[in-house]
């Protein structure tokens, strides 16, 4: 039986290093190729040796698809393509293609230049890797080869994030990447049509959370920032350069404008300006409101938000600083955090999810003493706030997507095992479909039941349609009679006559015949009764030569030469009328009920 296999190399019951292998209709596809923020060793990248122990991956993969530019979805790409070796096509959307190399370069700089790691991919490798990228437009059907096609849908989450549908014949898989079912200040909501995939592979970061309305969270956020600034404290907001950062910037910018606030807002790193520029150029990927008004006022031109310089961190007085990266695992946000952590007037707001092992994760769990490098400890006195602004679908959103796409099976990745378990039960209950949650390296196999496309001759179709009244009722299946011819690579359905002609065959008629003997007296009564009985259900014709036709079954009466007192009934019917024929023959053979014959 045809089957689809899904094996996560990363993000199986885990968040980080998303990398999922799908085998469908003889094609192998890699979905995302990310790195894990929580590890600094080999576990950082997916284990590509699962695909092959040695040699390049090119011959094992038909294509690689990257859903969006976050490093946990594309961070291992240069490693995979240049160091392990892959030369096939890599698909991603235009914004992802534009932004992804910048983040990769940033990541490389932090790892190699700051931490001094060797055996890491180089700038040249990033460039070479990006040359293999084929840009993908929304809703465009891309034919990877004759059989494999992929199509991207809008996913919200970050600029350029996409869900992908992978299709071979009538089998299909949808991979959501990370997505967001509620529009926010700068992005729209994910959308997919009722494509009924065999498997829907969905992220489940917020599998158990049902988040309150966004307005409340925004008000909360503004209140906390406002209070801290009012009492002269500093606010640190660790973010990734692209994505949440822009949403929060829009939020603070409008708030500052409205409240006429004076405290400075800074945005760290040179990436910012560039990042905002990307948003301006890819404005078609943002939400409706921004798209509509961008000619009059571009939301990504900020008046109150200025570039940050390292020396500002020691400035007295209140300020708000957006610093990268978002999980406090390295870089500027970590440096600023170290400086400000000791003062309880200050505040850190974590606007997104933090992967296990990062400092962000530790302080969110209430850890007050942190072990830093060189055996130093850092006391955390500042207020720690967590506010989920990361644009992932919550439990409600995931259910909503299932309703939209109507998958036959569900597969969860990119989430914590416990939470997945909960959501899995919920999905199985509500939709009565199978839900899988394979761990890394574990393969899920789903048996599919694809329909068989067949070419039908228009003559036959018209003939069969004419039999059943003027218009076919799509809800009612109907029987049709035809011959299926399998030739070369095609299946064709034609009328039996045409098939016989094409195959050069003679039509064989199968006829069943049988003889029944009666005594003469019995016979007369019987035939009258028989006639009476059958007239109600069937059309009976008496032919001039004495033959009786019940529908198309021929009954002939003759007298036997040897025994003048008996009559012989000859029955004959064709194979097509087997049902009626055998019914009649058993009826005749049984003879008359005993009561009648004695009359």
């Amino acid at each position: 039986m045809p089957e689809i296999k899904v094996t996560p190399l990363g993000a199986g019951q885990d968040v980080g290093r998303s990398c999922i292998l799908v085998s469908i209709g003889g094609k192998n596809i890699m979905l995302d190729c990310g790195m894990h923020m929580g590890f600094n060793d080999d576990r950082r990248f997916p284990d590509f040796s699962y695909i092959t122990q040695q040699g390049r991956l090119t011959e094992f993969l038909d294509c690689v698809i990257i859903s969006h530019f976050h490093l946990d979805h594309c961070g291992a790409l240069p490693y995979m393509s240049e160091m392990v070796g892959y030369d096939g096509p890599i698909y991603m959307t235009h914004p992802t293609k534009a932004i992804c190399p910048i983040l990769l370069e940033d990541f490389r700089k932090i790892t190699v230049d700051k931490k001094g790691e060797t055996n890491f991919f180089t700038s040249q490798m990033i460039k070479d890797c990006m040359k293999k990228v084929v840009p993908l437009n929304l809703h465009q059907t891309v034919q990877v080869d004759d059989e494999l096609e992929i199509k991207a849908y809008y996913a919200g989450h970050v600029l350029g994030a996409a869900m992908v549908q992978i299709k071979v014949g009538s089998e299909s898989v949808v991979y959501t990447g990370d997505y967001n079912m509620t529009p926010d200040r700068h992005l729209g909501a994910a959308w997919i049509d009722k494509c009924r995939p065999d498997i829907l592979i969905s992220e489940s970061t917020y599998a158990t959370t049902i988040r309150d309305s966004k307005r409340c969270r925004e008000r909360d956020f503004l209140k906390k920032v406002h209070e801290t600034v009012e009492r002269g404290g500093k606010v640190l907001i660790p973010v990734f350069a692209l994505g949440r950062a822009q949403e929060l910037c829009i939020l603070l910018e409008t708030f500052w404008e409205r409240m006429n606030m004076k405290a400075p807002i800074y945005f760290s790193t040179g990436l910012t300006e560039k990042a905002n520029h990307y948003y301006k150029l890819f404005i078609t990927w943002t939400n409706q409101k921004i798209r509509k008004t961008f000619v009059q006022r571009n939301m990504f031109e900020f008046k109150h938000i200025k570039a940050f310089d390292r020396s500002y961190a020691d400035n007295p007085g209140p300020m708000v600083v957006f610093a990268t990266p978002g999980m406090l695992h390295a870089g500027q946000s970590l440096q600023i955090f170290k400086k400000w952590a000791g003062n309880e007037k200050n505040m850190i707001i974590m606007p997104g999810y933090c992967v296990q092992g990062t400092i962000g994760h530790k302080i969110l769990n209430g850890q007050k003493k942190l072990e830093m490098e060189n055996r130093q400890t850092l006391e955390v006195k500042l207020q720690v706030e967590y506010m989920s602004f990361s644009a992932h679908a919550d439990a409600k959103g995931i259910m909503q997507l299932i309703r939209m796409a109507e998958p036959r099976n569900m597969l969860l990745v990119h989430g914590e095992a416990k939470k997945m378990e909960f959501l899995k039960d919920k999905i199985e209950q509500e939709f009565t479909i199978n839900c899988f949650m394979p761990a890394n390296g574990e393969t899920t196999t789903v048996i599919t039941n694809p329909s068989v496309p067949v070419d039908i001759s228009l003559n036959l179709l018209k003939r069969e349609m004419a039999l059943g009244g003027p218009l076919p009722d799509p809800k009612k299946p109907r029987t049709m009679h035809g011959t299926l011819i399998m030739k070369d690579n095609s299946l064709r359905l034609v009328s039996p006559e045409q098939a016989l002609k094409e195959l050069g065959l003679n039509e064989h008629q199968l006829r069943f015949t049988c003889r029944v003997q009666y005594r003469k007296t019995e016979f007369t009564i019987f035939i009258v009764l028989f006639d009476l009985l059958l007239k109600k259900c069937y059309t009976i014709q008496h032919l001039p030569d004495g033959t009786v036709m019940v529908e198309s079954i021929v009954i002939k009466v003759s007298s036997s030469a040897e025994e003048p007192n008996t009559k012989v009934l000859l029955l004959s019917w064709s194979y097509q009328d087997e049902d009626l024929g055998s019914f009649l023959s058993t009826l005749l053979k049984k003879g008359l009920p005993s009561g009648l014959s004695s009359m």
């Binding site: 039986m1 045809p2 089957e3 209709g25 003889g26 235009h94 534009a98 437009n137 929304l138 809703h139 465009q140 059907t141 891309v142 199509k151 071979v168 014949g169 009538s170 089998e171 520029h277 990307y278 150029l281 890819f282 404005i283 078609t284 961008f294 000619v295 039941n449 694809p450 329909s451 068989v452 496309p453 067949v454 070419d455 039908i456 001759s457 228009l458 179709l461 076919p472 799509p474 299946p477 109907r478 029987t479 049709m480 009679h481 035809g482 011959t483 299926l484 011819i485 399998m486 030739k487 690579n489 299946l491 359905l493 039996p496 098939a499 094409e502 195959l503 065959l505 064989h508 199968l510």
Partner: protein, 573 residues
């Protein structure tokens, strides 16, 4: 399958295709050439124009080339190929009972909206105290000069639509991306393909499993700003409908661009002004890009460039955000990130300024000599009318025509006598006859349908037999109001068999009927449908082993027929 041709204008087509019970309208261009028969609509009262004897100036009536060939409310979908070919959309979707869907790409929708907005704005800001209708009477029309005398059904000419109509019409547009497969009622699949002519411009493939119609409209093979034309997907068409070839088959766009620059430089150096009547989107982007490179070399750095249109700002801004729809060169700029078009820099450095109209800021900031880009190219309405009045009397000034849609002599007629220099550099990047015959050789459609104008040389150059389509078999010409039956014989249809519902027939050899029944070699087998499907692998194909087995059994005839009582679940038409 039938094709109803509602427009005789080869570059502003409007055809309706009936195919498998779906009614598909292909484009709805608005032919505005009739405005040339009318006087311009001036922005400020012009004593000269109002004193001209004869008749009242035009009242915003636009010729709608639609005949009641068919009921517009029966149209299921409208496919738009580019923003110039959708200007009649409100006339079709509004007040006609139309309930279908319009398909267009995002740039086509956005820029189309801008052009319609501009047209409405041009018309509405010069309201007419009275509108002339008497001339429409047959007896009077008979006495009128020129083409007006012969115009058909002037009584059905309609007034320009309102912004409300535009918004309502455009709300019926569903956005599509290149190569997106759109299913219509499960009967037909339509797909837009890049046509290389303008931002978001597309050709369309209309196909079922066995028939393929390609609709080619306004395509270009030149490397300008849009994404290159997708030619290979047009292959294997049964019918190719060809419209929107170049209107200037003898003019080379590159040469024209050179002429444009040199004439512009000459006039500026002599202290004159340059007027460029143009549409607000399209070639103007290329003109600005060309000037961007040219002005530095030609020492024109200090000359101001003005772009005046109610939608000038929007047009310039929108051009920068459609990276996905641009040529590779421009796309890679966005990755840097830099704006794809250099006019962003022209605006930043104050070399190019844009204004919604001549009123307001423009009048105070305006410096001469300068270059003005403004509409409408027919010179009958829009801000260009004012500049004609202002600059027409001086021989220092130059008007340079770049749009090929209107005859420049006719356009200038009401402004005569004119001292201003006139230069005609029509830039039409659409396919020329040489390119199109090469294209057709490559994609090899079985039949070609085209406007009758393409089947003979242009009337003015009747000896140029190279300026026409010569094909084997000859193309099927159409004219306005013709109805063509397309040469199709549909013989096959695609259905899906659901294996679950098939009854299980038994293998023939299982039946103990004896050998006598089959005197021939038993190459006919009855298999249960389920088994058969197992035999095919998941690609619905033979597995190689199965094919081999069959071949061994019967080396001559490896046709295998599966004869059975077959239950096929089917629905549809």
């Amino acid at each position: 399958m039938k094709l109803y041709c509602l427009s005789g204008h080869p570059t502003l087509p409007c055809n309706v295709l009936k195919f498998k019970s779906t009614t598909i309208m292909l484009d709805c261009g608005l032919d505005t050439t009739s405005v040339l028969q009318f006087l311009p609509l001036p922005l400020v009262h012009s004593p000269r124009l109002s004193k001209l004897p004869g008749w009242v100036s035009k009242d915003g009536t636009i010729n709608l080339e639609k005949k009641e060939l068919l009921d517009l409310s029966t149209i299921d979908v409208i496919l738009i190929s580019n923003y110039h070919c959708m200007m009649a959309l409100p006339y079709i979707t509004e007040h006609t009972g139309f309930t279908g869907t319009v398909y267009a790409t995002e740039p086509t929708l956005q820029i189309g909206r801008l052009l319609m907005e501009e047209l409405v704005n041009f018309m509405e800001r010069v309201p007419k105290a009275q509108s002339a209708t008497c001339w429409k009477y047959k007896e009077i029309q008979r006495l009128l000069p020129g083409p007006l005398k012969d115009a058909v059904e002037v009584s059905t000419w309609k007034r320009c639509y309102s912004m409300q109509d535009v918004n309502s019409a455009l709300s019926k547009v569903q956005l599509v991306g290149y190569s997106q497969k759109v299913e219509l009622f499960g009967a037909v699949q339509v797909t837009p393909l890049s046509s290389g002519y303008s931002l978001g411009s597309s050709n369309w493939i209309i196909q079922s499993h066995y028939e393929k119609v390609s609709y080619v409209s306004g395509s270009s093979l030149l490397t300008t700003h849009p994404q290159p034309m997708d030619q290979s997907s047009l292959k294997n068409s049964d019918v190719l409908i060809l419209t929107g070839l170049t209107q200037m088959p003898t003019a080379n766009p590159d040469g024209m661009l050179g002429d444009f620059c040199s004439n512009l430089a000459m006039t500026i150096r002599a202290g004159g002004n340059v007027l460029v009547p143009c549409y607000s989107s399209g070639v103007i982007y290329d003109l600005l890009e060309c000037l961007y490179q040219f002005i530095e070399n030609a020492n024109l750095g200090s000359t101001p460039f003005y772009f005046i249109s109610p939608v000038a700002n929007s047009s310039l801004e929108f051009s920068q955000i459609f990276a996905e729809w641009l040529c590779h060169n421009k796309q890679s700029k966005v990755y840097l990130p830099e704006p794809p078009f250099p006019h962003a820099e022209l605006i930043q450095t104050n070399k190019l300024k844009h204004y919604p109209s001549i009123h307001g800021d423009f009048s105070s900031e305006f410096r001469q000599p300068c270059v003005v880009f403004t509409g409408h190219p027919s010179l009958r309405f829009g801000d260009v009318v004012h500049f004609m009045e202002l600059w027409g009397k001086s021989s220092l000034n130059t008007i340079i025509f770049t749009e090929p849609d209107f005859s420049y002599l006719d356009a200038l007629a009401p402004y005569q006598p004119l001292a201003m220099k006139c230069v005609y550099c029509p830039i039409d990047t659409r396919l020329n006859f040489h390119q199109v015959s090469k294209l057709l050789k490559e994609v090899q459609p079985l039949h070609v349908v085209c406007p009758e104008q393409y089947t003979q040389p242009p009337p003015a150059q009747s000896h140029r037999s190279d300026l026409m389509l010569e094909l084997q078999p000859p193309p099927m010409p159409y004219r306005r109001c013709s109805v063509l039956g397309l040469p199709f014989r549909r013989r096959w249809e695609r259905i899906q068999l659901l294996p679950e519902v098939g009854p299980v027939a038994t293998h023939l050899s299982d039946l103990q009927w004896g050998k006598k029944v089959f005197s021939q070699p038993p190459i006919v087998q009855v298999l249960p449908l389920k088994k058969m499907r197992e035999a095919c692998n998941c690609h619905h194909r033979y597995t190689s082993t199965m094919t081999d087995k069959m071949r061994k059994k019967n080396p001559i005839n490896h046709i295998v027929g599966f004869l059975m009582n077959l239950f096929a679940n089917y629905c549809g038409k």
